[in-house]
Symmetry: C2
Subunit: 359 residues, 2 copies
């Protein structure tokens, strides 16, 4: 049992004074992003543990201070502890930051449930649970209904964070204390943590952006210009925010780092898997060929399937997502994407400014 | 005198029927964008005139159907008429589209005033009038107080438009008739015209974006990563929308083509003058050196001076614009830009979602 209640603890700690009791932070998941975030917290003076499933890897990182698999070129902070014992990692902590992939997210929460007392749980995972179409914040609420929770999302390439290049991210929570604690744990001169209370809006940005990286890759195969690329980005934001608003989010959240910021980073990275799959599809390859050439599939493909299904159920107009689905699964020509942009259905630029019926 | 009143005319014309009386459109200004837009209207079946100050150039384009100075590689529509007679160009028209640079915008409006009866006047010019800090829509209202008016702005490289690459733009007007007429005149399968009623928001996007192209160029000189570029883009949107809201605009407009769309195009074009001046400044050159190397100045420099002054008067927090000013005019190191992004003053991601005081 933790002796200090999470909320008392956060209240008691003034921002300015670095000499108070260190926040006890655990990051679940030792991929590149989890490692980078744990390293950031450790550098910030938090009492930080990184939980990794594999005991041998945990021991190796503890000894060498390098995550040879995911971030081989970076020396990690000496004070970062790595553990494969989940009870030890989770008990008596203040913040649990979860970077577990979406398909295992729920099962890891079930595993930590017996050790949760007053910890806050923050999802750093971008994605949607397959089949259930649940977001990570919803899984937290279902599995750990009592905990204070939040999500963190933004354009955050792990390699750039550990290299100390300036970056920003967004923590979203309905609890001011959770937002404050996450900012305290991770904010530094080179990693800026902005706050929001729009949990769904923030996590939807991270979950949906991969769809549009596929579209951008497909467009690149057709050598589109700046005008077209800008239109793809903007129409992507229009349908993302339209979808998000239907789920209760605030469209203005998409103006921020977790929305357009993450979308911009994703859509201007020709090396991302989503972009490359899109490029291959744009060249006229089938999905099977594209996956075979790339050696793996991309998150965006699964997101397209799920979001299209949900958009039909919710009656949300998502022409780009639909066009992608038709190209990938219904043999429509890749130029379908361009046509979807030019469709005359919705003529308002931003429908939350001027409703379509008033155009 | 026009025999058909502008408003009656628009009302009487159904969208579907292309065989009704053609809209009479005049584009003032024969630069690359003016020429591309006039060509678009002519292709759309409008009775279109392009007004160019120089009689010889006008005659040459009429004969060759090529604008050899600005768009030498493109054959223009045969039905496009070019005139250097401003009275003939403006009288008895339905739409006057003004693509005159901001420093001559007012004087051209004064020239056409005697010939204005029921025409609508639309500004296609991105910029701010030097000294007065007036936007183009304000100049229209001052010089032609009776006319229905609007603005058109978006990520619209002229060369891509005449080449028929898919593009989109935004027309903003308080008048539904003006919006409808501009959509009718310019909308086609390859050029999509979205509508908005946020005139100030739409024109501010086009006027302010050059500031951030300078910042992006400066950052590129320091080899920043994707995380930092995304943060510059997002913080740019934050301060643009903050400034615009102070002037009565809707922050959601910045989610659209004239906001983030145009900003994205500008910030990902390393060949733009603003970007190149920023790059030179980032390398530690003085403004004088940078201008000398480039052979000319960039619009963004003037915009920085004007917007900073206005932001101080309006008490709007614009850390990037300020930092740029300090680097260019007050000998601050170029890294100032990075520091301005990391300043801890405002910690909300999107202040219109979560006010700074509540973070």
């Amino acid at each position: 049992m933790t002796e200090i209640n999470f909320s008392d603890f956060v209240n008691a700690m003034p921002t300015e004074d670095k000499n108070t009791v260190a926040l006890r932070v655990t990051v679940l998941g030792g991929g590149s992003f989890g490692t980078a975030i744990a390293n950031t917290a450790a550098r910030n003076g938090c009492d930080t543990t990184l939980w990794i499933r594999d005991a041998k890897t945990a021991q190796e990182i503890n000894e060498k201070h390098v995550n040879t698999r995911y971030l081989p070129d970076f020396k990690l902070d000496k004070n970062l502890k790595v553990s494969s014992d989940i009870e030890q990692a989770v008990r008596d902590k203040d913040l649990i930051l979860v970077t577990i992939p979406s398909h295992s997210f729920r099962s890891v929460l079930q595993k930590i449930k017996p050790f949760i007392t007053a910890q806050a749980v923050i999802s750093l995972t971008k994605g949607i649970e397959v089949d259930s179409f649940k977001f990570m914040s919803e899984i937290i609420r279902e599995e750990l209904p009592q905990v204070p929770y939040g999500v963190l999302s933004g354009p955050n390439l792990a390699k750039e964070i550990v290299a100390g290049m300036p970056a920003g991210t967004v923590v979203a929570s309905h609890s001011e204390r959770v937002r404050f604690a996450v900012q305290k744990a991770l904010h530094s001169a080179l990693f800026r943590v902005f706050a929001s209370d729009d949990v769904h809006g923030v996590e939807l940005g991270g979950a949906l952006k991969n769809i549009y990286a596929v579209a951008m890759g497909m467009a690149a195969a057709h050598k589109v210009g700046e005008n077209t690329r800008s239109m793809i980005l903007t129409r992507a934001l229009a349908e993302m925010s339209r979808f998000a608003v239907k789920l209760g989010a605030n469209p203005l959240t998409f103006l921020g780092l977790s929305g357009v910021g993450d979308l911009f980073a994703t859509c201007t990275s020709p090396l991302s898997r989503n972009y490359q799959i899109g490029f291959a599809l744009g060249q006229g390859k089938t999905l099977e060929q594209a996956i075979k050439d790339l050696g793996q599939t991309a998150e965006g493909i699964n997101t397209i399937i799920q979001v299209r299904k949900r958009a039909i159920e919710l009656d949300v107009y998502m022409p780009i997502t639909n066009a992608l689905y038709e190209v990938i699964f219904e043999h429509a020509p890749p130029l379908n994407i361009a046509l979807s942009l030019m469709k005359n259905g919705h003529r308002s630029d931003v429908e939350f400014v001027l409703p379509h019926r008033d155009v």
